[in-house]
């Protein structure tokens, strides 16, 4: 190997290693956060296909900006913010409330082991009516409430994703639940 070839190899090798490491990083991000992101997307779209599209679009954006991966402090918040913007953007474009609700998607909801048994007794019709009422809440309260429903997100992470403080998120969730309870009692949707 000539001197030039040796130099060239030393220049190219780190670049190749960088590509490999970013690919591995992205694969690790997919493995760790894809389900959480799917839930975040689903809380807005209420449609499995649209939620999956949003998650895929999120990771495509990550791939396009892979050079920035080293600058990110909290991947979870960063990814939630990306998927959140994507689904809100899609919803804004659609200009409609989630009408394409996939009832079968609700049936796929996992009954987690620590959940009380009576929680799963809610009918899908009742659930859809409650979700319809959630959509009638003010935007800030609705967003905080929907993100609070995602298991993987802490209040601090929701606050970071929405660009506000934890106390603000707590008060938004409180107001949302209060208003929702009033709406439910008015409509007579109680078990």
């Amino acid at each position: 190997m000539s001197c030039f070839e040796g130099q060239l190899a030393s220049w190219v090798a780190p670049a190749h290693q960088t590509t490999v490491s970013t690919t591995q990083t992205i694969a690790a991000l997919v493995a760790e956060y894809s389900t959480a992101l799917y839930r975040v997307a689903f809380s807005v779209t209420r449609n499995a296909a649209e939620a999956e599209d949003a998650v895929q679009e999120t990771f495509l954006r990550v791939l396009r900006h892979e050079s920035r991966l080293g600058e990110i402090r909290d991947y979870r918040v960063w990814l939630v913010r990306i998927v959140w913007n994507i689904v809100l953007d899609k919803k804004r474009r659609a200009k409609t409330r989630p009408e394409g609700e996939d009832i079968a998607d609700h049936a796929r909801a996992l009954p987690s082991s620590d959940r009380p048994a009576d929680d799963s007794a809610i009918s899908s019709q009742e659930r859809n009516r409650i979700l319809g009422l959630i959509d009638r809440l003010p935007t800030r309260e609705r967003e905080a409430l929907l993100l609070s429903a995602v298991d993987e997100l802490t209040t601090a992470e929701i606050a970071a994703a929405l660009g506000t403080t934890e106390s603000s998120i707590r008060s938004r969730i409180f107001r949302a639940r209060k208003e929702l309870a009033v709406l439910l009692e008015n409509e007579g949707i109680t078990r």
Partner: protein
């Protein structure tokens, strides 16, 4: 985590059954699971996107594209452009330096604003012009101005004079500027 948020004591204002219904509905959204193989589908799409990104030629400006295709003329063109630019800069600088006369001081620009007497103390109050404007015609001349005729001073013959002051005899041909 979510359960802690949902069972927040702040929420205790509502009916427990209503709260439980809300929690159940929210859990149904927050605990939904994607269809099997989501990760695989995402990774496949990412791999195909990466292949596309690597296969796509980089976007180049027209000048860069020309430089890649014809390196020698492009370099020559660049050299000529650089020389031309350098000449223009040097020539312009020399011409400019020759137009300035030695000792010429460039006065700073003076901002003249119409003053109405009201304003901040720090405002610019330009001084009034040193000379009054010249009137347009003879009749409009100011009263204080007087035109003096050339020649000697004239003293009226009957005026009282101090003793010893000689009074010249009146001339037979008075000047046209005389008051009489």
């Amino acid at each position: 985590m979510t359960a802690d948020r949902m069972n927040n004591p702040m929420d205790s204002g509502a009916d427990p059954r209503t709260t439980a219904t809300i929690d159940a509905a929210l859990r149904s959204v927050g605990a939904v699971t994607p269809t099997a193989g989501l990760e695989g589908r995402i990774l496949t799409r990412l791999a195909s996107e990466r292949v596309k990104l690597e296969a796509a030629p980089p976007r180049l400006l027209p000048l860069t594209r020309f430089g890649r295709r014809h390196p020698v003329p492009a370099r020559a063109l660049g050299l000529v452009t650089a020389c031309l630019l350098g000449f223009v800069i040097v020539a312009g600088s020399v011409v400019h330096s020759r137009t300035i006369k030695p000792g010429q001081v460039v006065a700073p620009p003076v901002l003249v604003l119409p003053g109405n007497g009201i304003g901040a103390a720090s405002a610019v109050h330009p001084a009034a012009p040193a000379t009054a404007p010249v009137p347009a015609g003879q009749g409009s001349r100011g009263r204080s101005t007087r035109r003096s005729s050339p020649g000697r001073a004239r003293i009226a013959p009957h005026s009282r004079k101090a003793p010893g002051v000689a009074v010249p005899a009146p001339s037979s041909n008075p000047s046209p500027n005389s008051p009489n």
